[in-house]
Amino acid sequence: MSVRHFKLVLLGDTAVGKSCLVVRFVRDEFFEFQEPTIGAAFLTQSVQLDSSVVKFEIWDTAGQERYRSLAPMYYRGASAAIVVFDLSNKDSYNGAKSWVKELMRRGDPNVVIALAGNKADLPPSQRKVETEEAAAYAEENNILYLETSAKNASNVKNLFVEIAKKLPTATAQQERNDTFTIAPAKTEKKNCC
């Protein structure tokens, strides 16, 4: 019943549903009128695997363009990242790809990335990104891909579980803990990038 703690960050353009996904995951609720996040919201939530528990310390970031430059404050030191896009918005898909690229370049080298195509509940006529395309991109980059809906809850919990499964096991983490703190101090400043 050991609990492993991991910092997880949500990234993606504005209005793709990052906060809705977190609210669905943490409180099992959905608000049609979720306000844009101005800042970075922090919540914790655990997921149960077969023989252990993974506790996520979740940072839900602001997707609006003007706050983009602040994102590294949150993905720095994160063990996992969910990059979200809106399946009915091609721009947000392109945005997600650039988030993935940025994470790979500047994030933790072992960061577990999941690409989430959200709003899967919308009718097919509104879909702008095909499953095959996003899945192929994810495979190419060796990251997870899931289509989710914060609105009807589909695949939301699964998204977090899939990430939890890919995170280092207790022993591997123990070794890491000898040199790292579990949740990097939020004020920590690094001199390099």
Binding site: S2, G39, A40, F42, Q48, S51, S69, M73, T181
Partner: protein, 721 residues
Amino acid sequence: MASMLATTSPDMEPEDGRVVNQEAITKIREAWIFKQLSQRQSEFTNFSSINLLCCTWNVNAKKLDFDTPNLMSSWLFPPANGDVLPDIVAVGFQEIVDLNAVNVAVDSKAKQRSELWQEQIHKTLNTKTSYTLVSEVHLVGMLLCVYVKNTHIAKVSNVHSATVGVGVMGVMGNKGGVSVRMQFYDSSVCFVCSHFAAHRENVAGRNADFASILNKTSFEIGKEAVQEAVRAGSVSQWASGSSAVGLKDHDFVFWLGDLNYRIDETLSTDEVFVKSNNMEIETLRAHDQLNIERFNNNVFEGFEEGVLKFAPTYKYQPNTDLYECRPDKKLRAPAWCDRVLWHSQNPAHVQQKNYLRSELNISDHKPVMATFNTQVKNIIAAKRQEVYAEVMRTLDKFENQSLPKVDLNKIDVNFGELYYENKASESILVTNSGKVVAHFRLVPKLEDEGLCKDWISVSPTFGMLIPGESMTINFSINLDNKTAQQLNQGRESLDDIIILRLENGRDHYLTVSGTYARSCFGMSLRDLVVIGEPVRDLPLEPKARAEFEKKHPPASLSVPKELWRIVDAINEKGLHEKDLFLTPGFAAEVKQIRECLDTSSDFGLFHVHSMCEALVSFLSSLSEPLVPSSLFPTLEIDQQNIMPWSRRFLEVLPPIHYNCFVYIISFLREVLLFSNSNGLTAQKLARVCSNCMIQSDGGGKNDRSRSMALIFLHFLTTNSI
């Protein structure tokens, strides 16, 4: 004694003086989760009723006459226990061999005897139904054999045994305890067979033997099995991370053996003999050392024992049913040396059915048997998962609710239109809307050093709020000349994001913004001479500015229209005003003049001193000074070299600057024509020039700027322009 919460990482002591140990917090938290799960055990556990038989016998190195039928059977299956066949049988012996020096040191005899007893027990048990030996462990004279009915054998796992010697020198095996533990279905069961220190007066020795066996017995069952036990709700002391369990980390512990407690000395040896023979059990019980010590919590804390209803089991004359009192033997008052006790995480889950002795008489002790009915756990994994998830959700919910929370009455501080040298302030009200004390502070962005841009000042930058409490954060801005220059050049914009961080909580972004109303102040002469339109109309943002410039072809003024307008206005007012340029103007008028310059509107009414001040401050505000310091003379100026230096100066002055310089000097020479009424001198005006045409880097006037002043004076006094 208190057991300490063990952590591998040391406490951290951050500067605020609090001590934090994340590992300890995690452990305590997991202990809580464990407790929640155990409290809800029934929701995910089916219990089955399991019968146990525990036997103990100090055989005094004797063997039964195994050829006589039914002797073993009468011990293991006494008629009093009825037809119920136990599911688990634990048989413990003491003194299977003599406790002499050889046997203590060499195992061969004990091993041989152990095998003999095993064989006999196995045979006897299997006359009823099939049993399998799960584990055998012996140490010198102590032997413990645990059998399980074959029908359950698949449900037995993680079987481990341990031995602890507490005899000679505190470690030898003449006294001590041997134990076997196993997981049976989802319960953990442990049996201990022990032999404590002898002699009537040595109560303390026996208590100490118990304590050291309890402390020293440890089963290295592996991390996985420990986790399993924790998940099954079997480990009382939370032991995550450890790979070993102790005796009490089991659902059930059955402790049997020759514990050697006697009848206390308040009853004389004779009395004990009499009462034992007369079966005055109740009186004897009251004087039983183990009962007394347990009552005083000196030993077997948390253990239970059935009520003794049989006669003391020691010390018999072998092969008789008589207490040993032959004159040639040491006289021992009869006693209940041989006992069975138990410990259960959930007391309701063990019920003793019988507590008996057998009358087999080969030894100086009688065997003792106890039968139990226990409730053994059978966990429904899927249901446990559900309960566990629920517990975690509750915990997450509380943890999320106990995160600090503040409300901000606004997150945008918009100052609207801002002017040159504008000062303004605004505030945000921060209210603690959460349930816990909130500590907030403003933090720099990423690699930034400061909290915000230079033109903003914020206070306070940190604070603490108790729930419901509010605090105002003030933002003031000051658009000084330096900021204006940067704004004019499109290198700065009037917006910034300030991060308000709640310790252990979220970040809020506060936006500070405004729109700068461009002014000719703080611009460069180069820029000014190409603008025919009011400077206000020229967009600040580089892209928009480029657009604008595309639509409005550049003017090519010889001097900025603003400079021309000021000089013209002063001229119009007349140059005979006393102390022109030396008397300060009116601030409001200067401001109004600046606004009129920026918007190309009429000046209206003003005092000439205000206009003169506008001229001086306009020139001093230029982003590149009229006379760049690089052009200052490099040598000391004297009467000999002043002419060539002055000429050279004019030659190197950039064309626009040259125009303006000549324009201003000519105007000032004009002013000097009225020195009779305005009282000005060339020296005074040279000082004015120094004040507004050059910007001395590093404050104090250096030699080179003094030389420059001489050149100004030269131009003002000669007709060199």
